[in-house]
């Protein structure tokens, strides 16, 4: 047990550093990709040989020395706590996220996630759901700033609405694999087709929910600059403001990996059946990064929905569709039960 916790602690540190590096990389990649979409150059001057790859590190160092203003009307304790919560829970969710296929050493498996709980998906959904506390407390603690408050309400309502639909959409693959363990779900897909071929409706529903829960562009109502200044973090400055995008980037990563694991076969590929290990690892990360890029792509491409449209899509269209889809999956599986 002790050795187990120690290995876990080492994995935790490694994952933490990797996620920080990933967030820094995303800061650069986001700006570069958006620049590319808008026919600009993007960051270029810092480390000119590397296309500005070191820009986020310079930004990060600069942010550390920026004046940190807490408005005197703000609720001090909650104001300090909100960015910590907003960044902490996506990282906590990433603890259960697989970073690659399990390594077989001797007779036992070594899992490339900090923890391997048998209710992995429930844990990830719960941890991601708690992120909305960070947003809500940021809005409420801002000392009566109208825009922060409106934006926080919007984002929380949006996140929780789409979480219901997301839980329902993820139920279909779970129904087919009959396990809440992320590794089991991938193992199931290794022996059959990917779940996207059995569950195209759930796939599309989850794709929409993915953008909505991460508050990325077609659904970025909380940060609608034209209406709400900068959204719930209007009053934040310096490092406190930097924590929110950190959390958002990690949310994007966790969402993408959930998408890949549940619908696109995780680390299975057309020409991979378990060996060699490294090929599965590469497949997995190609797919995950495709979805990470998809987020930025839509960021640079789509206009924004209106808020009533956003809520109508969720409650009046996606909710009945996904509930009926579950029923359909249930009946179809009962008929074809020898198949699974």
């Amino acid at each position: 047990m002790l050795i187990y916790v120690l290995t876990g602690a080492i994995k935790l540190l490694v994952v933490f550093v990797l996620l920080l590096l990933y967030a820094l990389f995303m800061l650069w990649f986001e700006r570069k990709a958006l620049g590319f979409i808008q026919i600009r150059i993007g960051p270029k001057l810092v480390s000119s040989g590397l296309e500005g790859l070191l820009q986020p590190i310079a930004d990060m160092l600069k942010t550390l020395w920026k004046e940190d203003i807490v408005p005197h009307r703000a609720d001090k304790l909650v104001f300090w706590l909100a960015p910590v919560i907003g960044a902490m829970f996506p990282f906590a969710a990433a603890m259960a996220m697989p970073f690659g296929p399990p390594l077989k050493i001797g007779g036992s498996y070594f899992y490339l996630s900090v923890v391997h709980v048998n209710v992995g998906i429930l844990y990830i959904l719960a941890a991601l759901g708690l992120t909305s506390y960070g947003v809500l407390s940021a809005g409420i603690a801002s000392g009566g700033n109208k825009y922060s408050l409106i934006s926080a309400q919007r984002e929380v309502a949006q996140m929780v609405s789409y979480e219901v639909v997301m839980a329902l959409a993820l139920l279909n693959p779970i129904l087919m694999a009959q396990s809440l363990d992320l590794y089991d779900i991938v193992a199931m897909q290794a022996h059959h087709l990917w779940f996207v071929f059995y569950q195209p409706v759930a796939f599309v529903v989850f794709l929409i929910c993915m953008f909505a829960t991460a508050a990325i562009v077609p659904f970025d109502l909380p940060e609608a600059e034209q209406e709400l200044v900068a959204g719930f973090n209007t009053e934040y400055s310096a490092m406190k403001m930097g924590m929110f995008p950190f959390g958002q980037f990690v949310t994007i990563l966790v969402m993408s990996s959930l998408m890949v694991i549940f619908f696109l076969g995780g680390w299975t590929g057309p020409i991979w059946n378990g060996h060699p290990w490294i090929l599965g690892f590469i497949w997995y990360w190609i797919k995950v990064f495709f979805f990470v890029f998809l987020f930025i792509w839509s960021w640079g491409t789509f206009p924004r929905y209106r808020y009533d449209q956003l809520m109508n899509i969720c409650w009046k269209i996606l909710l009945p569709i996904s509930v009926l889809n579950i029923l359909w999956t249930g009946f179809a599986l009962i008929i074809h039960i020898p198949m699974i």
């Binding site: 960044a87 839980a167 139920l171």
Partner: protein, 118 residues
């Protein structure tokens, strides 16, 4: 082994809480502090302040209540999904009845105007 995993999750949560708090505290410590009355005002000046407790729109409370109901219903289906093979045909029939109740609740919420935004 599962107990060790949950212990590890607890350690991880504490770790992230402490590390991120240290990060913003460090930024606060390193930063220059030349405050004045105007600087400590709200950034978004010129618009009247709102009272947080009174300005929360009732629509969002309704959404929160609906979320609680429907998310519990969604989570209620998870045990069924995991034990699908054992429950068999009877499980599917029972879930169909349950889903009919969910739909009645959903239609009621719609008819009451809980899903309308003006």
């Amino acid at each position: 082994m599962q107990n060790a995993e949950w212990l590890l999750l607890g350690i991880g949560w504490l770790f992230f809480l402490v590390v991120f708090f240290i990060l913003i505290a460090l930024a606060y410590y390193l930063a220059p502090k030349e405050y004045s009355k105007e600087k400590l005002d709200l950034y978004e000046c010129g618009v009247p302040f709102v009272d947080e407790a009174k300005e929360l729109n009732i629509k969002f409370f309704i959404i929160a209540v609906l979320f609680t109901l429907f998310d519990v219903e969604a989570i209620f289906m998870y045990p069924w999904a995991v034990n699908f093979k054992e429950l068999g045909v009877l499980g599917v029939i029972e879930l169909s009845i349950f889903i009919v109740f969910v739909f009645i609740g959903w239609i009621y919420a719609w008819a009451k105007g809980a899903l309308e935004w003006e």
